[in-house]
């Protein structure tokens, strides 16, 4: 077998791909439109919050310093969790794959994010059980998200995630999307599993970076 054969084979494969139709390209206009949508959503949200929250704020019992729900306030918590209905998988590893739990591109509200650094760890590999996973994320964290949890978990699996020095958070629904806090240095992200592991289960940490750009 010679290099010529290899070159011919690659050219033959390339020829086959030429019959493939071009997929829809990302449209800058559409991306810009999303940004405009984001502004509208933000303005609407502020208006709704003002209408709904202002009367409650005025009537609030100021003798108690505790927040009404008992949850930590946004100021004390480094992350907030976009709920499931607030994000959508836009591109999956392949439409032929059986799951889109960890997409390549996702949309949160009107923002579009592409996956960056990440890792997966099967919980059960032969006789070895690995029930925690840690990834160190580098680079400026502005606007970054991280998806943490597990895919194909067992029914009795309990998952906790921790970002940097923040308190651990319970991962509901087996996967949670968290905002990364502002930090100058690298940030460590952990996911830990307790309970009963499942054979097909994998722990997942996947970072997402914004891809939106108006281009000028």
């Amino acid at each position: 077998m010679r290099i010529d054969d290899l070159t011919r084979e690659l050219q033959a494969q390339a020829e086959e791909t030429r019959s493939w139709p071009m997929p829809a390209a990302p449209s800058p206009v559409r991306i810009r439109h999303h940004r405009r949508q984001a502004v509208l959503v933000l303005v609407s949200a502020v208006a709704v919050a003002a209408i709904v929250g202002l009367p409650q704020l005025l009537d609030r019992d100021t003798t108690s310093g505790l927040p009404a729900t008992g949850r930590p306030s946004a100021a004390s918590s480094p992350t907030t969790v976009p709920q499931w209905h607030e994000w959508t998988a836009l591109r999956c590893p392949s439409r032929t794959r059986h799951t889109c739990a960890v997409p390549w591109i996702l949309q949160v509200h009107a923002g579009r994010y592409s996956s960056g650094t990440g890792a997966r760890q099967p919980v059960v590999e032969g006789t070895v059980t690995s029930r925690d996973l840690k990834v160190r994320l580098h680079g400026p964290p502005r606007g970054r998200l991280v998806l943490v949890g597990a895919i194909r978990p067992g029914p009795h699996s309990r998952l906790m995630a921790r970002i940097g020095d923040a308190d651990p958070v319970r991962v509901e629904e087996h996967l949670a999307l968290l905002w990364l806090p502002r930090s100058r240095g690298p940030i460590d992200v952990w996911v830990t599993e307790e309970g009963v592991p499942a054979h097909q289960e994998s722990l997942v940490i996947e970072e997402y970076r914004p891809v939106e750009n108006t281009g000028g």
């Binding site: 086959e16 997929p23 281009g215």
Partner: protein, 172 residues
Amino acid sequence: MVRTTDEGGSVHDEFERFVEASGPRLLTTAGLLTRERQLAEDLLQVTLLKTWSAWPRITTSPEAYARRTMVNTYVSWWRRRWNNEEPSEELPEAPTEHPDTDRNLDLRSALARLPRRQRAVIVLRYYEDLTEAAVAELMGVSVGTVKSQTSKALSRLGIDPALGAEAMEVSR
């Protein structure tokens, strides 16, 4: 080469012209890397998104930038997603009386089994016809690494069992 940018919001048109002109070539490269249409489309989509994201900062050839992004995305994503990978499918052993056809099937099968980085090097060297230095620059590795990856890939193609006795005779 310095890319000029028009004023007055025509950056969008410029990007769309780039996609129109370079998209088919990039899809071909994606197809050679991934060997599967759906994966190639995914890879191209992500490459274009990343390219658009960096568009204002690209001062050299946008296609070169996109190709670099594509190769590095391919190598890093597929490496990270090992858990999602499926074994390479064996090509059907079609009965044939043409030794050339057999040899081509063997070569195709062997190419499909190359590790991602080695496949990328092979595609860039022997399809894109880039020099070792250009491949090294594009992949962000040393020329020595390109040489060793090329050598390993060619070696794998030469001694792969799927190549059969003919290849073994040649390699002796």
